[in-house]
Structure formats: structure tokens, C-alpha cells
């Protein structure tokens, strides 16, 4: 097992164990700290997916922002004593929990199966170049090598065309294939401000509505 794989499994174990602690812990402050560990582990998974920007944002927003607010609220609450949070036991709760868990699992599996290749211009360009070399070898073989059959050449051409289309698309969304890592942020920005502007804005309106709602609920009535 390579060091990277060892690290990956370590992160996975941390995430699963801390997520289990969040659910099973009787002390809500312990649950909050476990959630911190879980979120940090998820940031690690993002790093393994070469999404370093998302990993940094995960740390800034979830670990450093939202969770600190959660801790803040929990520290003020009176329910931080050991065993003060009684887990609900009962067939209905158990069944509902299992059902929701199974649904979430199935949707994640479906999502992963239908996922298209992530924005990684580096890979696409590298693959396209490898395919170009492959095609050249098939069409004009070196001395002492068999030329490829017509089907092989046609399949290689089709693959190359697909890859070129992909890298072309990536160039239009702003990912520079020559410098993919530094430019991935730029691609992300273009996608957010271009292709996915509507969902992005709808999400922000939703958050704003929640914010206003929270203020309205908490605010003291000053006038009758």
C-alpha cells in the first residue's frame, strides 16, 4: 500500500469514526467537537480529489465559521451535562433513521456512478497527448512493428476527438490546459458566475431568507 493510500484510509477512518461519535455521543459539546473532526476529514478528502480550493473553503466556512457558531450556541445552552441528551429509542425512530440513511446511501452511489469526469484539464490534455502518440504509432509504426488495424485506428481517432472536445470545453470555461492547477480556481469562478449562476443566486437568496427569519424570531418586540 502506498503512503498516499494509507493516508487516505486514515482520513476515511477518522471521518467515519467522528461521524459516528457525533450521532452517538450523549454530550452535545463532544458531538460538536467530533463534527469539527469530521469536517476537517472531509477537507482532506477534497485534497485527495485535487480540489484544494474547495478544501480550503471547507476549512474556512465549515470548520472555522459554522462550527464555531455551533460551539458558541452549545456553550450557552444548559444541556451540556453528561447524558442530558437522551437518544430517542423506538421502532419508528429507528426505522425512519434507517430509511433516510439507506436513501442517502443509494443517492450517493447513483451520483458517483453518473458523475462525469471532474474538471481536471491536466488529465484531459495528458490523455489527449497520449492518444495522439498512440494514433501516430498505429498509423506510422516504427521499424519492425505491425501497423494497427483499421478498427483500431478508427477507435483511436474517436477517442482523440472526444478528448479534444473535452479540453476545448474546459478552455471555454476558463481552465488553462497548460497551467491547470493554478487555473482551477479560475475555472470554478467562471462556472459559478456563468453556467451555474442561477442555482448559485437561488442558494444565496435562500440563505438570506433564513438569516432574516432568524432575526425576526429572535428579535424582541419593541412596539405593541
Amino acid at each position: 500500500m502506498s503512503p498516499a493510500m494509507l493516508l487516505f484510509w486514515f482520513v476515511v477512518i477518522v471521518i467515519v469514526a467522528s461521524a459516528a461519535l457525533v450521532v452517538l455521543s450523549r454530550n452535545i459539546l463532544h458531538a460538536a467537537f467530533s463534527l469539527c473532526l469530521c469536517f476537517t476529514g472531509v477537507a482532506g478528502i477534497y485534497l485527495f480529489l485535487h480540489a484544494d480550493f474547495v478544501a480550503a473553503v471547507q476549512l474556512i466556512v465549515y470548520v472555522g465559521g459554522i462550527l464555531v457558531l455551533v460551539l458558541f450556541a452549545v456553550m450557552f445552552s444548559t444541556h451540556t451535562q453528561e447524558g442530558s441528551v437522551e437518544p430517542r429509542r423506538g421502532r419508528l425512530a429507528l426505522g425512519a433513521g434507517l430509511l433516510v440513511g439507506a436513501l442517502a446511501f443509494v443517492s450517493v452511489v447513483l451520483l458517483v456512478k453518473n458523475l462525469r469526469a471532474p474538471i481536471n484539464a491536466n488529465d484531459t490534455v495528458a490523455q489527449a497527448r497520449a492518444e495522439e502518440r498512440n494514433l501516430a504509432r498505429l498509423e506510422k509504426p516504427a521499424q519492425g512493428e505491425e501497423p494497427g488495424s483499421d478498427e483500431e485506428i478508427a477507435a483511436s481517432k474517436a477517442r482523440l476527438e472526444g478528448l479534444q472536445k473535452q479540453s476545448e470545453y474546459r478552455r471555454t470555461v476558463g481552465v488553462d490546459p497548460e497551467n491547470p492547477i493554478a487555473e482551477r480556481r479560475v475555472g470554478l469562478g467562471h462556472l459559478f458566475m456563468g453556467r451555474y449562476i442561477l442555482p448559485f443566486e437561488v442558494a444565496s437568496v435562500l440563505i438570506l431568507a433564513a438569516l432574516v427569519g432568524a432575526v425576526v424570531i429572535v428579535r424582541k418586540e419593541t412596539r405593541a
Binding site: A55, V57, L59, V68
Partner: protein, 364 residues
């Protein structure tokens, strides 16, 4: 394998340098504080003479004159802290109580990873980058790590199970969150100015002489950033989390021995980190006027001067932090929140809009 070993050089340089300088900073702070308050400060534990460090080791007096009086006080303090009984109050939550100092010490160290301390050097035919890692996310890493530092304080405050500590922890988390918002917006306008998130690139932009330093191009951001740096480090005038007069000692009231020492060290490392970050962002990093000329004259040895320039700038900022600490009184809690949310954030937003407007033609 050799590559890994060469990677160790900047790591050792940065971390060893930071750890080595912290005791010296403590001594400096006590001396400066004493000077401002018209006292003498630590002047006993020196190298030789009465109470001297060497004499404590040897056991016999060597000279009657104190040499380097007080300079070895931090060393004596460290020995005291390490040899003290490691006491955990019976009502405290043991696991979190023990973990909190680690969480206080780690984030300031992590922030140093992305700070470039000097130009690339060639040692024995190997080019070494004097920066632990040039992460793609660059300065965002610093924000991510800075936001983690709230955990040590919150954890310590809660796990101590004492009212003073809890109040200190709550104040610290509220303060850090409030000032991180302003700091994030300030950093955004700085990113726009440099058109990069890599601190290495930022220092590169500032290489064209004194006029290219970020300080002159982003003056508002500079002032806001310095204020945020004070608030993030919980230093006076923003030291409400440990406010002696109201909270005894705040989040570390119940801590003693080396656990307290780790909180203390974390604070000084964070001071250094903020100094290094300010230097890299606004004060030209390791550049100094005449760098290009010196490089032509003495060649590769210019790196030594670059490192010295970086250290001098960081120390200047740290001294400034100490000076402010012993000069200004503490804010009241509502004043602190008003300044953060009604003062800093609107000004930072305005600065962001102006910067965007100025830099828009550059980007298109």
C-alpha cells in the same frame, strides 16, 4: 529521497527559528513593558554573577558583576514550567482539557507553511525554496488555519468547567469570528491588487523597489489588517478573552505548568505569524532597497541579507504589537463588537469595491 531531505531545510529553518525566538520575545516583552511602566524588568538571571545561570549549574559564585542580567529569565521560566506539577482540576473535562493547549499551539505553526522567508537559494547544486510549501490556495490557507485557532481557546474555556474560563472562551470565539470576517474581506482586496493568491507571487510583485510595496497600494487594507491581526491574536487592546480585571485569566485561568506554557507560546508564535504575514503582504517580504545592486555585487550571499531584512521587518511589527499592548487600554465588549461589525467591515467592503473598480481594466 534527497528531494525529501532538501524539503526539510526550510521546515527546520522556519520551525526551529520560530521556536528559538519565542523565549527571546518573552524577555523582550517584559523588558519593553518595564520600560514603558518605568520599572526595571527582569535583571537577575544572567550568564554570570549573582543568580547567574552558569553559576546555578556550577554551584559556586564566579563573579560579583551580573553579566547579561535577565537575559536568561525565559530559560529559567521554561525550566520552572516544565518541572511544575501538571495539575488538572477535578471538575474539569480531562480529555478536552488536555487537548486544548495542543489546539492552541498548532494553528499558529501551520500558518508559517506558506510564508516565503527568502529568495530561492542554490546549495550544493540544489535549488532550495525558502518556503515550506507554495500551496495553490496560498493565502486562503492562512485564513483557514487562523479560523482553527478559535478551537483551542473555546475547548480550554469549556473543559476547565469554570465560569471565568467559559466566559473567556465564549468571548474569544465571538471576537475571532467577528474579526475574521473583516480580515477575509481585507485579504480579498489584497488578492485583487496582486492578482494572485500565492504569497510567493505577491512578494515577487513587490520586488520592484520601495514604491511597489503593498503598503502604498493598499493603505486602507494595511491599517484594517493590522487591527484585525491584534484582534485575532487576542492582544491588548483586544485581550477581552483573558481580561485579568474581570475574568481572572480568562480561558487559561485553570491551566498551569507546561499546558499554560503552550497557550503562552501559541500567543507569541501567532504574533510572529501575523508579523510575517504583514511583511509578506504589505512590507515587501524579504526585499529591501538596493537588493538588485547587492545581488550583483556579492552574488548568492545576498540571501543572508534578504533573510535579515525579513527578520527585521517581522521584529519591527512584533515590537509595534508590544508597544501598543502596553500603551492602550482595553476595549469594552460592546465597543469591540461595534468596531468590528459597524466600523471595520463596512470600511473593508468599501475598500474592496474601490479596489475592484481600479483593478477591473487590468483583468479584462
Amino acid at each position: 529521497m534527497a528531494d525529501y531531505l532538501w524539503k526539510l531545510l526550510p521546515i527546520l529553518l522556519v520551525f526551529g527559528g520560530v521556536l528559538g525566538i519565542v523565549p527571546f520575545l518573552v524577555f523582550l516583552e517584559r523588558k519593553i513593558c518595564a520600560y514603558i511602566q518605568d520599572r526595571v524588568g527582569p535583571n537577575r538571571v544572567g550568564l554570570l554573577g549573582p543568580d547567574g545561570f552558569l553559576e546555578a549549574v556550577v554551584g559556586v559564585p564566579i563573579t560579583k558583576k551580573r553579566i547579561l542580567g535577565g537575559f536568561f529569565q525565559p530559560l529559567a521560566d521554561a525550566i520552572k514550567l516544565i518541572t511544575k506539577e501538571d495539575f488538572i482540576p477535578s471538575h474539569a473535562e480531562k480529555f478536552l482539557f488536555t487537548m486544548a493547549p495542543f489546539f492552541a499551539l498548532l494553528p499558529p505553526f501551520l500558518a508559517f507553511i506558506v510564508i516565503p522567508v527568502g529568495p530561492d537559494v542554490t546549495l550544493f547544486g540544489q535549488s532550495v525554496m525558502l518556503q515550506v510549501a507554495d500551496l495553490n490556495v496560498g493565502v486562503l490557507w492562512i485564513l483557514a488555519v487562523a479560523s482553527l485557532s478559535a478551537y483551542g481557546v473555546a475547548m480550554g474555556g469549556w473543559a476547565s468547567n469554570s465560569k471565568y474560563s467559559l466566559l473567556g472562551g465564549i468571548r474569544a470565539t465571538a471576537q475571532m469570528i467577528s474579526y475574521e470576517v473583516a480580515m477575509g474581506i481585507v485579504l480579498l482586496s489584497v488578492l485583487m491588487h496582486y492578482d494572485s493568491v500565492s504569497l510567493r507571487d505577491m512578494v515577487g510583485v513587490q520586488s520592484a523597489g520601495l514604491g511597489s510595496w503593498g503598503l502604498w497600494h493598499q493603505p486602507v487594507a494595511f491599517i484594517l489588517f493590522v487591527i484585525c491581526a491584534f484582534a485575532e491574536n487576542n492582544r491588548l487592546p483586544f485581550d477581552l478573552p483573558e481580561c485579568e480585571a474581570e475574568l481572572v485569566g480568562g480561558y487559561h485561568t485553570e491551566y498551569n505548568s507546561m499546558k499554560f506554557g503552550m497557550f503562552f507560546q501559541g500567543e507569541y508564535i501567532a504574533m510572529l505569524g501575523m508579523g510575517a504575514l504583514t511583511t509578506a503582504l504589505f512590507l515587501g517580504g524579504w526585499h529591501f532597497p538596493g537588493y538588485a545592486w547587492l545581488k550583483e555585487t556579492i552574488g548568492a550571499w545576498v540571501t543572508v541579507f534578504a533573510l535579515a531584512a525579513f527578520a527585521a521587518k517581522v521584529m519591527a511589527f512584533v515590537l509595534f504589537q508590544m508597544w501598543v499592548r502596553w500603551t492602550l487600554p482595553r476595549f469594552r465588549y460592546d465597543q469591540l463588537m461595534n468596531l468590528g461589525w459597524k466600523g471595520m467591515i463596512p470600511i473593508a467592503l468599501l475598500n474592496l469595491i474601490v479596489t475592484a473598480w481600479i483593478n477591473l481594466p487590468k483583468g479584462t
